[in-house]
């Protein structure tokens, strides 16, 4: 039984991540506190009542390909229709095309809830949102008029077609090709793999966004263009026309998210798929990157959503299952395993990691919102850089802890955790994709080190560290023993992070790229732990400890400070001292 963590979400939005700042802008003038509460409550209700029950059957039956058509699991299409009728597809889209124009923060919070319900269900609309953003920013008015209203309403869904067998993390190797048809349209040819919701029965039409090369395009990523390729062509009056030459030829057999059809798409097998250019020729990657940054945060929040679900699942089991006798338990008979210190510790860790990742993702959304709201150039730059800095952390840290928390959930269930019917293993299988797609977490770490640390010549990350220091100072000033201890741990972690940052900046400045990259993954973890700890402490400072929810928040912050922040010293040492052995390592030695 999933209960939407409405209270925690609202608290984190408002008291930790800065939603109130966003609401203060005239653009969101109609967004009252009550309205925010109502939106999250209703999203929570929908996620718990309508989506969460779908995940098991989705896993068991999966999406099935038959003769080119994909059938989603029983009940999924109906749930999607109710979901879009509820207006949930249009939360952040621009009002011009029917969107509600709400802040990204609210959208991310709602996405978390859909993902707690079912990652496999939630990932579909995430791709539609990405397609909408690309069209809003880069498509011609005519394309926008034809496609955006139906995408925004959710009547049609969208896809992103990047990957080819030889081109995954490296889009230079892209081979799909596009030819000019002479009438302003193009013909698209090639195979794409790993296309999420590339074919399905939710909607009448599917709008594929496809990266391909023109015949005269330069090599590499500067020769890639983005095309809109609908499953069905659209007539002038908006009705559906001919079937386009774009077909699903296979659905992958995956570890998890079985309800989400991961398609092999074949374009142009029968003469060429009709496509329309989005943006300029050879500038497709820039259009795609617009979508990708937000998609990375959307994947990060999947980690939070699945972690929340796994944590609840494990806590419920641990309160029911009785084994052994916990020290200090009064009375007779066996104790709930939730009373045993080792299980308590695991559950508290699950809770603390989930809340830390939630706060990081919402802070990332906050920065995206602010970058779009502020009107002076300096502020826009500051918030854009902040969003850029937080994106790889939000994506990688949250999805890593998503897997870790789901795995802890399996462990809390003991032998039952390994039995599929229990559901704990399913959450682990689902969670495992998130560190991989939308840029593997290794690529996020590389992005963080090589592109985000050097922003504004290193001054942005230094300012960020100073801001974290202010949280530690506030904790010092709280004049309570538990906060003094949290402050000390946080100060130590900030010092560790600062040392690693300066070491990396120096290494980058001196061209020691391999050395810097060898420590990218532990550096990202170090940054995630420090930021996560700071945000939990910030939340704890705003919690009186009077209600159970507030007591839990204090406990999670203390636990994070006592048990997770102490790891930053070792991670910093690894970043700064671990490169030699990695650099000297020749993998082919293993094969010899």
């Amino acid at each position: 039984m999933f209960r939407a963590p409405v209270g925690d979400i609202l608290f984190t939005l408002k008291s930790v991540a800065g939603l109130t700042d966003v609401m203060a802008f005239p653009a969101h003038g109609e967004l009252s506190d009550d309205l925010v509460d109502a939106i999250i409550e209703e999203a929570g209700r929908f996620a718990a009542e309508e989506i969460a029950p779908l995940n098991e059957i989705g896993d068991r039956q999966g999406a099935v390909l038959n003769d080119g058509a994909v059938t989603t699991p029983p009940g999924w299409k109906e749930a999607y229709l109710r979901w879009r009728e509820g207006g949930w597809n249009s939360v952040i889209s621009e009002p011009e095309f029917g969107g509600q124009g709400l802040p990204t923060m609210l959208h991310v919070a709602a996405m978390e809830l859909w993902n707690s319900g079912s990652m496999a269900f939630a990932i579909g609309p995430t791709l539609t949102i990405g397609a909408i953003e690309a069209l809003e920013k880069h498509a011609s008015p005519q394309l926008q008029e034809t496609y955006l209203p139906k995408l925004v309403s959710g009547e049609w869904m969208g896809t992103m077609n990047l990957t080819e067998p030889q081109a995954g993390s490296d889009l230079n190797a892209l081979k799909a090709r596009a030819e000019r048809a002479g009438d302003g349209t193009y013909r698209i040819f090639g195979q794409k793999i790993f296309i999420t919701y590339g074919e399905h029965d939710f909607t009448d039409n599917i709008v594929h966004l496809v990266l391909a090369r023109l015949p005269d395009a330069p090599a590499g990523t500067r020769g890639i263009s983005l095309f809109l390729v609908p499953k069905f062509l659209v007539n002038e009056d908006g009705s559906l026309g001919a079937r386009n030459d774009a077909r699903c030829t296979g659905v992958e057999h995956k570890l998890g998210i079985h309800g989400s059809p991961t398609c092999t798409m074949s374009y142009g097998d029968e003469g060429g798929a009709v496509g329309w250019l989005i943006g300029e020729e050879n500038r497709g990657l820039a259009c795609m990157f617009t979508m990708m940054n937000n998609a990375r945060l959307a994947v990060g929040i999947q980690g939070v959503g699945v972690a929340e679900r796994a944590m609840q699942h494990a806590a419920n089991y641990a309160l029911e299952r009785r084994q052994g006798r916990a020290a200090g338990d009064a009375g007779e008979g066996m104790s709930p395993i939730a009373h045993h210190p080792d299980v308590k510790r695991t559950l508290l860790t699950m809770r603390a990691l989930t809340q830390a990742a939630r706060a990081i993702c919402y802070s990332n959304a906050h920065a995206i919102d602010m970058a779009g709201l502020v009107d002076d150039e300096g502020s826009r730059r500051y918030w854009s850089e902040r969003a850029g800095l937080l994106t790889p952390i939000a994506k990688a840290f949250s999805t890593d802890i998503g897997v870790e928390v789901a795995s802890m959930g399996v462990q809390v269930h003991g032998g039952m955790g390994y039995i599929e019917e229990t559901g704990a293993a399913r959450l682990l299988r689902d969670a495992r994709i998130a560190p991989i797609y939308e840029g593997t977490n290794g690529i996020q770490a590389i992005d963080l080190v090589t592109r985000k640390l050097p922003l504004s010549g290193g001054e942005h990350i230094r300012g960020f560290l100073a801001e974290l220091g202010e949280i530690a100072t506030s904790a010092r000033g709280a004049n309570r023993a538990e906060f003094a201890r949290m402050a000390e741990r946080l100060e130590n972690s900030i010092a560790d992070l600062r040392e690693a940052v300066e070491w990396l900046l120096a290494a980058l400045g001196e061209g020691r790229m391999s050395e810097a990259l060898a420590g990218a993954t532990p550096f990202l973890r170090l940054a995630g732990l420090t930021l996560g700890g700071a945000l939990l402490i910030k939340g704890a400072l705003r919690s009186s400890g009077d209600s159970p929810a507030e007591r839990l928040r204090l406990l999670a912050a203390r636990h994070f400070a006592d048990s997770h922040l102490p790891l930053t010293g070792g991670l910093a040492a690894d970043v700064m001292g671990g490169a030699d052995a990695v650099t000297d390592f020749d993998v082919s030695l293993i094969a010899s």
Copy 2:
């Protein structure tokens, strides 16, 4: 393609874990260096050629229950028959009943290889060995004569029946009952769950060892007796007689190890299963514990086996798959992803963790062997305590890293890692059981803290720390820069471990049990990292660095020292400072 790591296994056995000491005893006088090499080479050949190819079909088809009979996957029975004809079932059993009486160290090394081939295949014989040990030590001569020769040869297999739905980690709650039949036999009634290889088609007979209570037994674990319950009764002449009242009523649908039938067993539905007492009435748990300690090491080695397989699988992929251009790569075109620092780091970590866990497990086997070989009381006590100390570390650390390394293997494969056909995900699914069964890793951590640290009033662990210190001293004395650095890291980690040990001993001494238990899991990790690092450094000290294998050993030790040992400080801080928040945490707050 799995290649048996024969060189690493032999090096670790002989130069790190102490096989040469064991071979020096007259009991193993016939065991020459060449014979050891030949045994491991042949085990490696069998694992790579005969077992490894079975794992995929085993996963896909699983073991199937039909009308009470379990059919193992195609090819599995034939492989089992070849395996037992090779004499692999009788490696450590006593010569009296047809065993080869070889050291546990060799048995554990061979088990590692079977598990690299297929965990689901290897776990079956592991249970047989457990049954053999219990019968060797506790059964009457008549039972031994009837059952041991066929169990030792592998003509029959054995099972362990402990768990019931309400009694998993806590055997106090056991309900299965036994009645005296008046003729010296017993009738057994009750249901057991999670019975590995409880029913199958490998052998004509299956020998179940079943825990049950006599009518007049005291409550709790002091009222549990152990019974031998064969699937088919055995006639005086050794031929098979009547079918016993012991049946498989279900096979679990699990996350992994699908080839291994995990059975629900029902005893006595038709009047009572005929059973024979093993050992004394009400002393069944003592008999079972004989098996369980060795079974824990057998599960630990599963972690090593699956990690080795996952590491090779990932390294092979990373050398073939090309994406992007690694800094410093000469020439044109994309680099193998194995050249990218972040992937190199991951592969080196996989390698180092696997080798560390291997060395820990073999050292545990060494202590078991020594305890059985030495003839003075003091030495026997020393080696028994050492085996006891190392068992929870070998079980929990190795199975934790088994999951971690398998998960890294998925990650190295990128999107392909999530596709089942790649095989990386299957290894992760298989690996995930090992931290759970034979005592969850949380229970191992509790065992380590509450039963093993206090051995000899804390003097055993203190002596162990001093021995680790000698490795650091040797590294200091090696007079090479890389060893000085390794020595420093190891000294720091030993100091961290020592501080945590003394803190825990004080907490236990003062009755602060909950506080000690709250840090049990990070303490076990701290101990595993420190011991693993020490053993890798010990191995590196004995490696000249001339061959690729020796260069790799040095690199793995340096990487472990640079990147993994620095984490011990944070873990020690967690052990000593993390209990408060855990103790204050009331899990029911989450449900409120």
